[in-house]
C-alpha cells in the first residue's frame, strides 16, 4: 500500500495540517518512503460524492461504461457516485443491481453505489423488488425512476412505505407529465414562445414536489428531490423542511450556471431535463443551496452519443456531461460569489450526499481514522474547457470553450491516487 503526505494542506475550515494517507485511512504517521506532496496553497476536501449519475452500462456502452464513468468522476474529484437505474435493461432486480455493483468493484476509480428503479421497467405501474435489491450484494438504499416521473400517487406512497423499514430513500424526477408533456423541452416563458419550443412550466415541478412531500409526511419516509430547477420548487422544499418532513433536494451544476438563453441557437448540447431556466430561478437555486434548503450538488451526468444529439431540438436526447466540471461550476457560482465557503462545499458535495445515499465510507471529516478519501484542490487554477480532453466516452459537454476554474489537482480513494493532474 502506498502512503502519501499532503504537506501543509489547508482543510475546509481554514486550518493547515499535514494529511497522512496510509492503509486506506487518514493516519497519524506514515511509513518511511511515503510520497510527499507540497500542498502550499492547496485545499483538501473530503472525497466528493455524487448521488445522481448515468453510467449507461449496460445497454449504451458506446456512450459511457462504468469504467469510463468513474474515470470521469475521479477527474472531477469524486470518490463515490450513485448510478441511476435507467440503463438497458433497467436496474429493477437484485441480479441487475449486483451486476452493476460488480462492474463498479472492477472499475476501482470511484465507489459505485447502485440506484434501483422504483417501478418495474420504469413503467410506473408496479413496484420493482425494492427489498431484494436492498438485501442483495449491491445493498441498494436509493430508488429512482429518474428520467421518468412516478406519476401514480398511490404507487409513490407504496414505494415510500416499502423502503421505510430499511431506511431507503425514494428519489423523484419531479415532472408532472401532463403539465410538461411530450415535446416539453424548454422552460415555459417568453423564450419558448419565441423559439416555438414546447414549454415546461415551473409548476410541473413544484406540484409534484408538493404532492410527494405530503406523501413523505404521511408515510414518515425519506424523499429526495432530483435536480430541482425552479424557484417554486425550492419554496415547496423550504416549506416542507420547516414542517419537519424528511425531504432532501439536489441542484445540478448546469442549473446553477446556465440559463435559457443558451437555447437561442437550438444547440442540442443545452437540451436537458428539467430544462435550463431563467435568471430568477438560477438565483433561487443558488440561494437555496447556500442556505441549505437544497442539500447537495448532484451532476445528473448524462453522456450521449453525437448521433443521439444530431436531431431537431425536440427530438434530441436530453442530458449533458457533468462530472468533470461540477466542482468548477460550484466554485464559479457559489464560492467566488461568496455564497459558500469551503466547509459549505465539503458539506454540499461530500458530507450531505454521503448521508442521503447512506454511504458510510464517504463524506467523513478529514481526521485521523477516517477513510483516505480526499480531493486536493487548487482554488486559483482556471482553464478553458476542452470537450476532447474528457475522460467520459461522450462529448456532450455544455462547458466546452468556457474559461472556468479547473481546481482538481488529485483525487485519493482510500489513500490510492485515482487522479493526478
Amino acid at each position: 500500500m502506498t502512503a502519501t503526505v499532503l504537506r501543509a494542506v489547508t482543510l475546509p475550515d481554514g486550518s493547515r495540517t499535514d494529511l497522512k494517507l496510509s492503509d486506506g485511512l487518514i493516519v497519524d504517521d506514515v511509513p518511511a518512503g511515503a510520497e510527499v506532496i507540497d500542498c502550499d496553497g492547496l485545499i483538501a476536501l473530503p472525497g466528493l460524492v455524487d448521488v445522481h449519475v448515468h453510467l449507461r452500462e449496460p445497454g449504451r456502452e458506446d456512450t459511457e461504461t462504468v469504467a469510463t464513468g468513474v474515470q470521469a468522476a475521479a477527474r472531477g474529484g469524486f470518490t463515490a457516485v450513485c448510478a441511476m437505474a435507467n440503463t438497458q435493461p433497467v436496474t429493477d432486480t437484485a441480479e441487475k443491481a449486483e451486476h452493476i455493483h460488480d462492474l463498479g468493484l472492477d472499475a476501482r476509480d470511484a465507489d459505485v453505489a447502485v440506484i434501483g428503479a422504483i417501478s418495474k421497467g420504469l413503467r410506473g405501474e408496479e413496484l420493482a423488488e425494492l427489498g431484494l435489491m436492498h438485501r442483495s450484494r449491491a445493498g441498494v438504499t436509493m430508488f429512482s425512476d429518474d428520467g421518468h416521473c412516478l406519476m401514480n400517487a398511490q404507487l409513490m406512497r407504496r414505494a415510500l412505505e416499502w423502503v421505510k423499514p430499511f431506511g431507503g430513500v425514494v428519489a423523484q424526477h419531479s415532472q408532472d407529465s401532463n403539465l410538461a408533456g411530450p415535446g416539453a423541452c424548454c422552460h415555459e416563458g417568453e423564450l419558448s414562445g419565441r423559439l416555438g419550443l414546447g414549454g415546461w412550466p415551473p409548476v410541473a415541478e413544484a406540484a409534484i414536489i408538493a404532492r410527494d412531500a405530503m406523501l413523505a409526511e404521511a408515510t414518515g419516509s425519506r424523499l429526495h428531490v432530483c435536480h430541482i430547477s425552479t424557484a417554486e420548487g425550492v419554496d415547496v422544499v423550504r416549506w416542507a423542511k420547516a414542517r419537519g418532513i424528511q425531504i432532501t433536494a439536489e441542484a445540478t451544476p448546469h442549473h446553477l450556471l446556465l440559463g435559457t438563453e443558451e437555447l437561442v441557437g437550438y444547440d442540442t448540447v443545452y437540451k436537458v431535463n428539467p430544462p435550463l431556466r431563467t435568471s430568477e430561478h438560477i438565483e433561487a437555486v443558488r440561494a437555496a443551496l447556500a442556505d441549505g434548503t437544497i442539500d447537495v450538488v448532484a451532476t445528473d451526468h448524462a453522456p450521449h452519443a453525437t448521433q443521439d444529439k444530431d436531431h431537431a431540438f425536440v427530438d434530441a436526447r436530453p442530458g449533458m456531461l457533468g462530472l468533470e466540471q461540477a466542482l468548477s461550476v460550484v466554485i464559479e457560482t457559489m464560492v467566488k460569489t461568496g455564497r459558500l465557503d469551503w466547509s459549505g462545499v465539503a458539506d454540499r458535495m461530500s458530507h450531505a450526499p454521503a448521508r442521503i445515499a447512506r454511504l458510510s465510507g464517504h463524506g467523513q471529516p478529514l481526521a485521523v481514522g477516517s477513510p483516505g478519501n480526499v480531493t486536493l484542490v487548487d482554488p486559483e487554477r482556471t482553464a478553458v474547457v476542452d470537450r476532447e480532453a474528457s475522460r467520459s466516452l461522450s462529448r456532450n459537454n455544455p462547458y466546452h470553450g468556457r474559461d472556468l476554474p479547473d481546481p482538481v489537482e488529485a483525487t485519493f480513494l482510500r489513500g490510492r491516487q485515482t487522479f493526478r493532474r
Partner: protein, 309 residues
C-alpha cells in the same frame, strides 16, 4: 443572403427587395410560357420531413419556372426510421452538391441547425412551431396586391387580426415579425389556452373579443385549428370554439367593406372559417396560393442567382 431561416434575419430593405421581385415573378406566372432562365444549372431539393402538398408543389413550381432542377425528398419513414440522425440526412444531400435545400420539419429550429451543417443554402419551409417565413412573405404580397387594387396604399398603418391556434402556429410567428417590419398593426385573437407564452412581449395587441376586433380591421387572417388538439383540452368543443373565434356568417357582417379575409390553408370549413367567409368576394385565399409561387421564385432568385455574379 445565404439562407432564409427566419423573418427576424431580414432587414426592411431585404423584405422590400424580396417583395418587389415577387411582383415581377407574378407577371411571369400569368404568361403562357412560364419559364425564366435565371437558375439554369442550379439544383434545389425539397426535403420534407413532414407532409405538405401545398408548400412542396409551390416550391417545386417556383424552382422549375426559374429553370432550376428540382427534386423532392420525403424523409419521413425513410432513413430516419432506420435511425439516421437529421444531420446525416442533410450531410448526405449536401454531399451531392445541391445548391439549395428547402426543408420542412416538425422540430422548431431544425432548419437553422441544418444551416450550420451544410454548404447549400437553406430555406425554411416551416420548422415546427417556430417560423414559416415564405408564408409570411406571400401573405404580405397577397394583402398588398389587394390593398393596391382597392387604392388603399400599402400595409403601413393597416390593422391585421390573426385569429386561431396561435400557440402551435409557425405562421403567426413569421407574420408578427414581418407585419411589424412593414409598419402594420397586429391584433392577435385566441383563447388563453392557445396563446404562446410570453406573447405580451411581442409588441402586439391581444384580445379574446373577436366581435370587438372585427369592425376595425383591414385584414382578418384566420389560422387552422388542428382538430387533434381537441383531446389536449385546449378547448371544450368545436361548438364553443366557433362561438368565440370562428369567422361565422354573422361575424363576416362585422367586417368593414374593404377588409379582406386570408387563410394559409388547409382550411377547416365550418370550424375556424365558414364557407360564406372562405368563398366571399373579399376572400384572398386563392390569391395567397398564387402569391406563394411568385414569392418562392423571388426567394430562390435572391438566394441562388446572386452567387453567379
Amino acid at each position: 443572403m445565404k439562407h432564409l431561416l427566419s423573418i427576424a434575419d431580414l432587414s426592411r430593405d431585404e423584405v422590400d427587395s424580396l417583395l418587389a421581385t415577387a411582383e415581377e415573378m407574378h407577371d411571369v406566372q400569368s404568361r403562357p410560357i412560364k419559364k425564366l432562365p435565371a437558375l439554369r444549372g442550379r439544383t434545389v431539393v425539397n426535403l420534407f420531413f413532414e407532409d405538405s402538398t401545398r408548400t412542396r408543389s409551390s416550391f417545386e413550381l417556383a424552382a422549375k419556372w426559374l429553370s432550376a432542377d428540382a427534386i423532392n425528398v420525403s424523409a419521413k419513414g425513410s432513413s430516419v426510421s432506420k435511425g439516421e440522425s437529421m444531420r446525416d440526412t442533410l450531410l448526405t444531400l449536401d454531399a451531392m452538391g445541391v445548391d439549395a435545400i428547402i426543408m420542412r420539419h416538425a422540430g422548431s429550429g431544425s432548419v437553422a441547425q441544418a444551416a450550420g451543417w451544410v454548404k447549400a443554402s437553406m430555406i425554411n419551409a416551416g420548422d415546427g412551431m417556430h417560423e414559416h417565413p415564405t408564408q409570411a412573405l406571400l401573405d404580405a404580397h397577397a394583402i398588398s396586391r389587394h390593398l393596391r387594387a382597392l387604392g388603399r396604399g400599402s400595409l403601413e398603418g393597416k390593422r391585421v387580426a390573426i385569429t386561431g391556434d396561435l400557440l402551435h402556429s409557425r405562421v403567426v410567428r413569421s407574420n408578427v415579425l414581418l407585419l411589424d417590419k412593414l409598419g402594420a398593426y397586429v391584433v392577435l385573437v385566441a383563447p388563453p389556452t392557445l396563446l404562446p407564452p410570453g406573447v405580451e412581449t411581442w409588441g402586439v395587441e391581444v384580445s379574446q373579443d373577436f366581435d370587438a376586433v372585427l369592425p376595425d380591421v383591414d385584414v382578418a387572417m384566420m389560422l387552422r385549428v388542428q382538430r387533434e388538439r381537441m383531446s389536449g383540452g385546449f378547448f371544450p368543443s368545436e361548438r364553443e370554439y366557433i362561438d368565440g373565434y370562428g369567422l361565422t356568417p354573422r361575424r363576416l357582417a362585422l367586417l368593414p367593406d374593404h377588409a379582406c379575409i386570408a387563410h394559409p390553408g388547409p382550411m377547416n370549413r365550418g370550424l375556424e372559417i365558414s364557407s360564406a367567409a372562405a368563398d366571399a368576394a373579399r376572400s384572398i385565399i386563392l390569391d395567397q396560393v398564387s402569391a406563394g409561387v411568385a414569392v418562392r421564385m423571388s426567394v430562390l432568385y435572391h438566394l441562388l442567382a446572386g452567387e453567379e455574379s
